[in-house]
Symmetry: C3
Subunit: 364 residues, 3 copies
């Protein structure tokens, strides 16, 4: 009933000039995952927690066949805290994090073009190195058994409280993904624009809020192995670099997981290096699965004593369908003398932390 | 085009082990309801108001048949102010309310398992006692004729300005619903975790932000009657308790509504007790309906004079379809000598308030 | 599993009284549009920008046939910054703008009734005069070539930094749209309620935050021409009035665009008048299009020297389908001696600004 679209003439001409357009299509999808957790540190806490098996979310995505081997794709995905119905943190400039009060497409917001050359997409997306951390963690970096507590301790800001906003995802990014069928090789790279400064930072070859990352893998014969690198550019502290090597090997009902990771940054003039590793196992028995993982981390600090911890986790899944699972996990974190890693309840240096969780995940 | 999912092996094994999975399914639903209201107190105000017949909202929901009498369900529902396109208040911890600026799944955010045992679900949901208030109000606790203005005066914070964030819904909750076919009986209970304190509050047997509630009803022979109880646990003031008895009786085109309610709390050391009641009538004439309701409340305050009010409301609906209705209502609130109940325009103690509204509701 | 709906009796009666209800239906739609922009002023900036061809968004809309020539409609549309996945600014009261951090249905949030009389709808919607600006700009008021930079300089707040929150859309609005088939004439009017004051403003015949606007056009013989007027009522400064005349003429593959616009307001006691105009051309060659536009503006200020600028823009589109386009544009803004119009990087009075962009838009 509004004024007719003024692009009508142009659209009509367009119609005549090209083959019948693909049907409009959008997929609405999501996950609602909630668990009861009981966490112990120097005190204890019982809570309802969202996303302890897979992050709760909803989104819209789709792909359009453009003919000639080309396709367009879009992906909008919003994280939610299903215990309260609210959103998850995001970052507009890759430097300052906004609290998780409001819903945004913080998990992914991209448009892309797919062809024989691979895929080019732009927007907000996962960093390659964070994907490596997630894919080679038997718990998928979710819930109280998340290995990134130790392997990404510097990025998350667990040491010295200074988190990096591109530890998992980056805004203002351009991503290039290699095409499939490269003899088992696969990979992608990300260049996120630092939009906070007009000029490169002194000595940094980049602008505040930028990120560069790449990931290269090979899959075949039951093996999947990948190396990834990420560099976050920050004016407020030093850059943070992360190298991660991970792999899985599947043998019948057993799947083995391995990770080696190094993080480096300088905080208040002190060089920090976090060397971490993890070994995991997933044993599938019909619709059930048992998961186990050991993660260890040692953070060296120039001129100071190092700190670290080792975490032991055991998990169980009962898959009621491909979309619905009941699950549980127990985790124990052993801090070394100066370690203060916790699962939600603070601990004094050297104290241990533990957690139990039981929940349900449903995908749609 | 991204790295193939590493859970592929596990998923393939899962596929082999279980019957064909149910198709992915999600329902997108909502309500857009807008009315023009003219409200009078000591001044007057004309405004466009959202949700005067049914709260404006959108959401995603679905159910998956898991076989063997089991089903999984999820429900994400976000309230909106359709006059501006923005969200509605929510509470992350059941104590502090966030303003209604941003959209969240504040109305409901749950995942659940349904079986012969009934349903267990978790997340953010309606409290049982709030449902009793809503279901036995002929205006469904919406718009200017909402009886909870008087029956939930203490929970809403209309007296002494101290609202309770679990007056309608609670975050961090686990809900159990009785199965159907119990000889007309139905009911459910809620336990919301108080996540603000590690230790029980002295004398409270609970943690700040917790809520306990239950509702039991019987339906048959045109009658539907239910008793509900709710207790909100708050460190910042006293707990708030609410008992509510309500019912409807349907006789041909007439439906009678009745409510009896008691709220109790202590504010700044003063015991408050709100005894309220309402009688309502809905007369259906084909696609039209006429609604009438009288609500009265008297709030006793230990050592102080009591206050109260009586509200008279008349409403009309013209249903253009099952999804679309035009409607209107007039309301008059008679405050007693110390009563200051208003409809959006403040009144001096003892002054009356009134309101007129006309609008349209569309469901999708 | 919850208590059966208490409106069941009423609904059953309703069912019997009316023909089979239309099926529930909702369309999920949206746009993801991202471009890399390089902008120059007194410095320079490279950034990923959302919506440089069409504003990025998602939404829900639908229409229900009510029989007898009547239909109900709803439309919820949320703007997004696809570079970060976040929302776009909104205004709850048409006076104060909220930042674009959170997602809301800021673009449109309406419910309406359509009949032989036309359409009446309410909620948040585009102002008629803003539609005129957009429809007769060959760049659709998007991206770095947006002509409203000059033609709506007073409303946007580019002069004296005082923006008007109804420059594009208004909350709390009632809109009436003329029916089709009026011999080529079409039009609509808007009345947005000022909800900030109970009493009319002295000398303003309106309440703070109100807006009145109308638009009348004629289309035929390749011509589409329309006149629009809008008045925003603001207590904090003077009202802002905008008159806009625009048109297009389509001749084979060529489409000509023209605009004439006057804005008037008083800021800090100084009368401002912005006289602006634009000429544009769109040349369609199969799936490609070339766009060119010149915009000029002169802002007279009582007792002060006037300021102004002229902007030259050239654009290109390659439509991969009706839904997907690759595009680019270059823009040059020539400021007169006191002009400070920029494209994102500030300029000193009289300095020029320029911008280049290349991007991809996908609709779903």
């Amino acid at each position: 009933m509004r004024a007719p679209s003024l692009a009508l003439g142009a659209a009509a001409a367009l119609c005549a000039a090209m083959p019948a357009a693909a049907q409009s299509s959008v997929t609405v999808f999501g996950v609602v995952d909630l668990a009861v957790q009981h966490l112990r540190g120097d005190g204890h806490l019982t809570r309802l927690e969202s996303g302890a098996l897979n992050g709760s979310r909803f989104g819209f995505k789709g792909q359009e066949d453009l003919g000639g081997g080309l396709a367009a794709s879009f992906h909008l995905e919003a994280g939610i805290n299903a215990d309260t119905g609210r959103g998850r943190p995001n970052s507009i400039n890759n430097v300052v994090e906004t609290p998780g009060d409001f819903i945004s497409f913080n998990r992914r917001s991209t448009v892309g073009l797919i062809g024989r050359f691979g895929e080019v997409r732009a927007g907000r997306d996962y960093t390659p190195v964070a994907d490596n951390h997630t894919d080679f963690d038997v718990f998928g970096n979710s819930g109280n058994a998340d290995s990134s507590l130790l392997t990404q301790a510097l990025a998350i800001g667990l040491v010295a409280g200074r988190g990096v906003r591109t530890d998992v995802r980056a805004s203002n990014a351009v991503v290039y993904v290699l095409p499939p069928d490269l003899g088992g090789f696969w990979g992608y790279g990300m260049y996120a624009i630092g939009e906070n400064n007009n000029e490169p930072l002194p000595g940094f070859r980049g602008r505040d809020g930028g990120h560069r990352g790449a990931r290269l893998g090979w899959e075949g014969a039951g093996l999947n192995v990948a190396l990834a690198y990420g560099k976050s550019i920050l004016a407020s502290q030093d850059n943070l670099e992360n190298v991660h090597l991970g792999g899985t090997y599947t043998w019948n009902d057993l799947q083995f997981f391995g990770q080696l990771s190094r993080e480096r940054t300088t905080i208040d003039g002190v060089r920090h290096t976090n060397d971490a590793g993890a070994l995991g196992l997933r044993y599938t028995i019909g619709v059930q699965a048992i998961k186990a993982q050991v993660v260890t981390s040692r953070i060296k600090r120039a001129g100071m004593e190092s700190l670290g911890a080792t975490a032991y986790a055991l998990g169980y899944e009962y898959n009621l369908s491909l979309r619905t699972a009941l699950y549980g996990a127990v985790v124990y974190v052993h801090n070394n003398a100066r370690g203060t890693f916790d699962l939600g309840v603070p601990v004094a240096p050297g104290s241990s932390a533990s957690g139990v969780q039981a929940g349900m995940r449903h995908s749609f």
